[in-house]
Amino acid sequence: MNELEHPTGDPYGAKDGKDLISGITVFPMEPHVPRKSDIDPKAAIRAERQVATMFGLSSLMILLFIVAYIKVPADLLITIPVIGTLNANHLAIGFTFGMAILLIGLGAIHWAKKLMPDEEVIQERHALTSTNEERVAVQSSLQRGAAESGFKERKIIRRSLLGALALFPVPLIVLLRDLGPLPGTRLRETIWDEGIHLVTDATYKKIKASDIPLGGLINAVPENLLEIEHEEETLNQRGKASIIIVRMDPADIVSQQGEAWDYQGVLAFSKICTHLGCPTSLYQQRTHHLLCPCHQSTFDLSDSGNVVFGPAARRMPQLAITVDAEGYLVAQSGFNEPVGPSFWERG
């Protein structure tokens, strides 16, 4: 801290660079340097003309805006290098209107910087504390009020008031219940169950195992998804029950999550990433790797869906499948572990 003199005649006075009342160190101002336009009348005139030109151009832009709005056809497309093809009308009215407001702003700033007074001044402020007399008066007034209210003597009123005030926040806590109800088993269960048909997503057709080619991929959902009537519930269930079906040479299968969970090389896995729940169906048929587009978690579907890369901590859950009498794919049972990302209660 520099020991400096207060630069102005502060009513409270300053000694050793400190304001006596606030105690704040006061710094000196840099010496004022006049601008070119302050000294040279020619420079001032030039600056004046520049500002007026900007305001004038702004007016011109407004006129051009009106002309463009009327004259440029609404469906004319033009190609501008680098930017590409775009609608000429939109470009013209957007550019002229944008430039009009920009030029007003630029002109105003240029005016303020070049021509308006720029001498540095200190805005005088007195200290924020009240005087001692005022403080004493307020204190005694409060004490008299407390005494006259009888707050100390009337115990029953005091205690009941304190009790009422203590209970007042309770409803706010009670309302927190609306954050629930707790999910219960819903995070652990999907609508997959024994004998539920696997159907193609978007077209909802049953899938014959023999129709799936080697290296094939099908995005599928459970058939009973179509039985749910509420749209919100449909989306909730779809979000958990979506699966992918792939077919690989049975000789390529290193391991599975359960014995004979495939059907002749046809495997079904959850589509929901175990990291943060993104839909994961970037299946690369040569390597049997399944890639999640969000954070690049990679699962090896030929080896129990184990994680081979990325932030996912759990393998991709496999759905045990088989075929019905007509050869259509059905689930052997539901998923035997929760699908999707980890959650608090899962442990």
Partner: protein
């Protein structure tokens, strides 16, 4: 020195005659072979086999049974050959994680011959007929839904492609055409899974092709699409350029005039 003794125009005359003869001969041969290919498929298969033995067998094996450098082509079908050779992915420019498209090394006739030969080695998806590619009555909305369900995860919602793992990538579909799209779906080139007609019907494929064609025709109306990659490039652009302009403006406003 000997050249200077001749008339200056002699060289041009010789060149013109030579070029003319070659051109005429080529046209004549072309005119002869074109109908033959259609008429005699056995010849086509024979020609395909020759081309295969010369150009492909070193990697794929003499009987197309596959080897350490190339997969088996038994049962891949004509669609696969037409896609891989027709887009220049095969023969490979260089060994790598993924075959990249380039100028095709074989002309249409040779590609057809190769496809015909490979098709005789085992049943596989054939080259789609014009009727299979006719999208006149396609349902665009369903095509969009099917595209987002089956294709968008790799090729992106706007079809511009995207990255896969270990240096592989899903190519952009913006310069593709109906035939190539169909062939790719039905044959599953490289990392791409197979979407056979039995699981994704011909009608479904038509709908998808119609949707991709619509995406191709739908130019970015605002200009400056930034690759149509969505929030990543757009966010990066606005962070660097947008914030940059604001910072420059703030510095200018705050600077003292001289």
């Amino acid at each position: 020195m000997a050249l200077s003794k001749r008339h200056p125009a002699a060289l041009f005359a010789v060149l013109a005659v030579a070029l003319g003869t070659t051109g005429a001969a080529y046209a004549a041969v072309n005119a002869q072979t074109a109908p033959k290919v259609v008429a005699k498929t056995e010849t086509q298969v024979e020609q395909g086999k020759q081309l295969f033995l010369e150009g492909c067998s070193s990697c794929h094996g003499l009987a197309a049974q596959g080897a350490s450098d190339g997969p088996s082509l038994l049962g891949v079908g004509a669609a696969s050959v037409d896609f891989q050779v027709g887009t220049g992915r095969m023969p490979l420019a260089a060994p790598g994680v993924q075959a990249m498209p380039k100028m095709p090394s074989y002309n249409e006739e040779e590609t057809a011959a190769l496809a015909a030969y490979i098709a005789t080695l085992g049943a596989g998806p054939g080259i789609p007929t014009a009727e299979m590619l006719d999208t006149t009555n396609a349902e665009l909305a369903l095509g969009g839904e099917l595209f987002r369900t089956n294709c968008a995860q790799c090729h992106g919602a706007s079809g511009v492609g995207g990255a896969l793992s270990e240096g592989r990538k899903a190519p952009s579909l913006m310069d593709s055409n109906a035939k190539r799209l169909y062939e790719a779906m039905v044959s599953g080139p490289q990392s791409m899974p197979v979407f056979a007609d039995s699981t994704l019907s011909v009608e479904d494929k038509k709908n998808i092709i119609a949707y991709v064609t619509e995406l191709q025709a739908n130019k970015s109306p605002g200009g400056f699409s930034l690759g149509r990659q969505g929030p990543v490039t757009e966010g990066l652009f606005i962070f660097i350029v947008g914030l940059g302009v604001l910072i420059v403006a703030a510095v200018w406003i705050g600077a003292k005039a001289k």
